[in-house]
Symmetry: C2
């Protein structure tokens, strides 16, 4: 709980703080176990560089990624297996960004961007499909509510 006074008023970003699993769990509304599990099944990168037994390190970007996973899982009702497939392209996002910045070949950059776009569009499709289904459900429920209102009115 003791916050370092060397990093005053931590503006939540800018400073690339290094966090550990407990903190990440709290920030994402999960638990350490869950995060390790996601790493275990390949949903999270799980740094190939960490020595066995050492503590896991996370960045603010990692937190965002986990939050997105949780969001997609809950809102789309996907299994972790399905999420893995959906995000498998994005899993290598760090790598992609690295390669993107490394290469000077505009053709290659274009290719990477197109890949990213396809990935996002897939997610958008799923989200919009979900919204459509829920809208139908809302319409059905509204109709029902209207019928009840009518009958209430007819009673007075």
């Amino acid at each position: 709980m003791s916050i370092s006074f060397d990093a005053p008023s931590t503006p939540e970003d800018e400073v690339p703080r290094v966090m550990r699993i407990g903190e990440v769990a709290e920030l994402t509304g999960t638990t350490p176990r869950t995060i390790r599990y996601y790493e275990e099944i390949g949903l999270l990168a799980g740094g190939t560089d960490r020595q066995l037994g050492k503590h896991r390190c996370y960045s603010h970007g990692d937190v965002e990624r986990i939050q997105e996973i949780v969001r997609l899982k809950d809102l789309l009702g996907l299994s972790l297996e399905q999420l893995s497939q959906l995000l498998e392209a994005e899993t290598a996002r760090a790598d992609i960004r690295r390669e993107f910045q490394a290469t000077d070949d505009p053709e290659r950059q274009r290719e990477l961007l197109l890949q990213s776009r396809g990935h996002i569009d897939t997610q958008l499709g799923l989200v919009r499909g979900r919204i459509a289904e829920l809208s139908r459900l809302e319409a059905d429920l509204s109709a029902r509510a209207q019928r009840v209102r009518d009958r209430l009115e007819a009673l007075s």
Copy 2:
């Protein structure tokens, strides 16, 4: 597969056909086991009148109810336990309708209708909340897609 020719062109309603569990399972995209399970945990009425060992009988209304259960479960991501609570008022819907039609007391009728309205409104609240969350997600994804488009454009 052999359809009775006594019921020509079955218009899907009007005729109160009596169905058995296998047919209901197909119509609802579930399995007999699932339907029995739902009955077991009190999510479905499970006729108190059926004799032990006899086949279960279902009406078209039962099919609709099961379809709605599946829909709420999938789209809202609720557990069967939560669904039981959410629908517990509606579970007695048949009883309510019966009482509604039986009584002449308009005050009682009004009460039953208000109850029904509250129930529907609760569901509507959940559905709209879900839609709101998904809309936020869609906005986030759209923003990301836009950024990628911009960079693609900047490349040409």
